[in-house]
């Protein structure tokens, strides 16, 4: 579930980035890199888990699924926090600069 949620987040971010490319004033590319990087790493992790547990990998218990879903959503939220922090620090639209000048 974590892998699935992160991949969905990565795809959505890539679509949004492509819509605004090549400007990228909102730094959506940062989100794309974070989510695609995590997706690739979790994908490799899933392959190794599948090699170890075989069919059990596709039949997780309800507890595991809920836990993984919470983890996936939390990971996406954490990625958004990193992006917001980067956006506010770099201030690509110079919003803070203009505010402080006034």
């Amino acid at each position: 579930m974590t892998l699935l949620i992160t991949i969905i987040a990565a795809i959505i971010c890539t679509i949004i980035w492509y819509k605004t490319a090549p400007q990228d004033k909102m730094k959506i590319s940062v989100l794309c890199f974070i989510y695609w990087g995590a997706s690739l790493m979790w994908f490799v992790d899933a392959i190794f888990e599948y090699a170890e547990f075989r069919e059990k990998f596709f039949t997780p218990s309800l507890y595991e699924m809920v836990n993984d879903t919470f983890l996936g959503v939390s990971a996406v939220a954490l990625g958004l926090v990193v992006w917001i922090a980067k956006l506010l620090i770099t201030d690509p639209k110079h919003i803070f600069k203009r505010r402080f000048k006034q």
Binding site: T6, I47, V82
Partner: protein
Amino acid sequence: MACFIVPVAEAVISTVTAHILEKKEKKSDRVQKVSGIDSSFKICFSKKIKWLSKLLWGGSFLLAFEHLWHGEIKPFFPFLTAAKNSESFSDMLYEMSTVGIGMAFTVTVAWIGMLIVSGIFEKHQKVQEMREMI
């Protein structure tokens, strides 16, 4: 356990390399940078290495969060629960050498794919520019 350490190590190397390359590129003025793209739409190599470091840092950060979620990372020394005894430590090293290297390798392969695609676009752009000049 600690598989994210391998991509973190690669991320550190790629970040340092990108900074060194960026300085060299700025010094020699080989590439006129306008938000990472020069007049012939050629993306400088330091920017391309930054793609790799962003992929690695982003991925490892979320992976570290997952490890924290599962209680594999602690906020106090030795930080990794697997580093408590020698048996779990050897398991951790085994995981790093299999899953960790697999992760770093996959991200690097994806990045090489990005390089190939961007290289094709750059070539296409160059040909188009030359045609326009003729």
